[in-house]
Subunit: 413 residues, 2 copies
């Protein structure tokens, strides 16, 4: 008998028939001898409708406290409906709003951070085969105000609940079979991974894989909650996201990801002197612009070129600020480019294999793809290339590292 948290997203509970399907799966899991707490999102489309209403009455920045009161009704509807559907199958079910389960957060409306979860209430509901049906995405702050967790909040809620009740696993039910080695729309040979480490998953999520929200994976890693990403359409095993020690097959490259959502800014001919880079980025940081990759090249004349990437929606603001800074610093020029893509390979096995980066660059070069920027960590290599080469790069890297020799197991251990 295991203690399991299952999380179903908005599409899985998108209408009453789907809610019935979810109820059946939950009941099947209970009847297999498990204790089950379910975390659900709002029905697909519901949150968008509520947000549209909020915008119409409250403008682009609706009052945050009332915004959270409004959008939290979406999940509240789902928990009541799913509880009814489970009860209609002859099982006990108790719904919990964020406040009712004691999902205590900080004060930050619409992007609240979880402080604690009252596990006793949930565990009591699970006694004798009962099911706890929990509203994802929402909490309550010290003052008793409703808060919401922001993007990907339901995954994070599920992990927080799993951590609090010390669940054996947290299942993320989704419309794909698990975590894939790359986007199957680009590479039909993409295959499901059986296991990946938290670190790999965090890199893959931050580099473009959409299956899990990075925040929930970090949370799972911090609390040691094994995540099981699996299909909501069938009962087959999905991908386990777990500690590095539990990942037997340390692939050199577990995944190939891409991201077209960034743009590049280059400030040329900055006079190199101590603190100049700090002065360059301070105004961007103050403007709330998120800088991702940064590369600095020193020229022979003692001046320096700095290139960095930002999210596309912050590109215009980044260019404006950079031009102001360039004027102050006496820089020669600011150039921008929106037609870029970031392509990355991620894998635990890179730690043990030298020459992976060299091999990646050679493969891309062989296809005539010019590399503009490079960023590496222990377990990933990212390159920025011209956007039009993104699919080609993903295909050739997947073929070289995943479909063929890349899947070689770790030499020792």
């Amino acid at each position: 008998m295991a203690l399991i948290v299952q999380k179903y997203g908005g599409t899985s509970v998108g209408d009453l028939d789907r809610i019935r399907n979810v109820a059946q799966r939950v009941v099947r899991t209970v009847e297999a001898g498990n204790r089950v707490a379910v975390v659900v999102s709002a029905m697909a489309g519901e949150t968008d409708k509520l947000v549209a209403m909020a915008r119409e009455l409250g403008g682009d920045q609706p009052p945050p406290r009332e915004y959270d009161v409004l959008v939290s009704t979406g999940e509240q509807k789902t928990i009541a409906l799913l509880s009814m559907a489970i009860q209609a199958l002859g099982h006990r079910a108790t719904s919990f709003t964020g406040a009712q389960m004691g999902m205590l957060t900080d004060e930050a409306h619409s992007k609240a951070r979880i402080r604690s979860v009252d596990s006793a209430r949930i565990l009591a509901a699970l006694e004798d085969g009962g099911v706890a049906v929990i509203a994802g995405f929402q909490g309550v702050n010290e003052a008793g105000h409703v808060t919401t967790l922001g993007r990907g909040g339901s995954d994070t809620s599920a992990v927080a609940v799993a951590a609090a009740i010390e669940a054996d696993s947290c299942e993320i039910l989704t419309d794909v079979d698990g975590v894939l080695t790359t986007d199957p729309r680009i590479v039909p040979a993409a295959r499901k991974l059986d296991r990946v480490s938290y670190d790999e998953m965090i890199e893959m999520a931050s580099l473009g894989a959409k299956v899990l929200q990075i925040r929930s994976v970090k949370f799972a890693m911090n609390f040691g909650v094994p995540l099981h990403v699996r299909s909501s359409f069938h009962d087959g095993e999905g991908t386990w996201v777990t500690q590095e020690e539990d990942v037997m097959e340390r692939l050199v490259v577990s995944g190939v990801t891409y991201n077209r959502d960034e743009a590049k800014v280059r400030m040329k001919g900055v006079k190199d002197q101590p603190g100049v880079v700090g002065r360059m980025f301070a105004p961007l940081s103050e403007a709330g612009i998120t800088v991702d990759m940064i590369v600095q090249n020193l020229a022979d004349d003692g001046s320096t070129d700095v290139t960095f990437t930002v999210p596309k929606e912050e590109y215009a603001a980044a260019m404006e600020r950079s031009r102001e800074v360039a004027a102050e610093l006496g820089a020669a020029e600011v150039e921008g480019d929106e037609n870029i893509a970031k392509v990355s390979i991620v894998g635990l096995g890179m730690k043990d294999h030298a020459g992976v980066a060299q091999r990646m660059f050679t493969i891309l070069g062989g296809e005539g793809i010019n590399i503009q920027l490079i960023s590496t960590s222990e377990i990933k290599i990212s390159v920025v290339i011209e956007e039009k080469y993104a699919e080609l790069a993903v295909r050739v890297l997947h073929a070289a590292f995943v479909e063929s020799g890349g899947a070689e197991p770790r030499p020792e251990s």
Copy 2:
């Protein structure tokens, strides 16, 4: 400066434009120097949609706890949206769910009774011109479960809030000008009453007037909360429902009401003996059937006829039970009739005027309307007649008692 509770029903907040209108009216009341707490219902149609979902998943009797979690989202949406609309007009507003304002109820889901309201939280929100926007119809029980108050719950919530914060008045904003002397669809000369007593209003509400829920009027009477029933379309004075002492103009007849929702059951030839009437009604009571009027006629042979009325939707069950009882008691026959109407006249001044009943019967007799049952109290006379005469009876009684001499003020005082 007055402390005012305003209650807006589902039609008044039926779409975003109407919510904006309500916000404007609230702000106007605040800017006139008042402190205002607003109690709102779900947007028109919202509750019906939620109930339909509950029925589809949970059957005719959806699980009560989850049913309340579901339907309470309706009012929660309204409070958030109205708070946003008020803030968009440059005023402070804070929303309160039933749980947040400490509307503590008993355990009875879907028909909970209010135990207490935490006035401190609401009063704090009203400081410095802030508006408290409160979800009607919902509360929370000791265990922290969401409860709802059942039919007319939002009126009752408003009165409970008004009582708790010791408001100067509780305004019920509606689509009519106030409490009318009768249904204007039947009698175009129906006029708005300036003041009625709680007792009159309770009689009128229980006899067919739809403008206020009887439960909220009783609550207002018990706590001495002055109710002000007024139009949501204009700022004109409506009808004050208040203590008898404050009703200056004690009309003999304040209102003429009718009700077609009852049916009649007659048990003939019951052998009269002690306790026989009790034995007759016990099975009906056990079946949850609400008996309204009861009349017993003793025949010369020592047998008795008992006639009573029940709500039409309980008529079939009442007939069935009555036939069983009749068999046990050796009664001769059970007859039923669904084509009846109850027509009533209500007025405080009846206490001081003899002969009102006699005059009523004479007027109806003059129109050839046969009276089947009669029920009286200090301030009302009800008769059951053939349904087809209902409008005629209302018209002639209104003409005689309200439009002409009936409006004469009380002789003394």
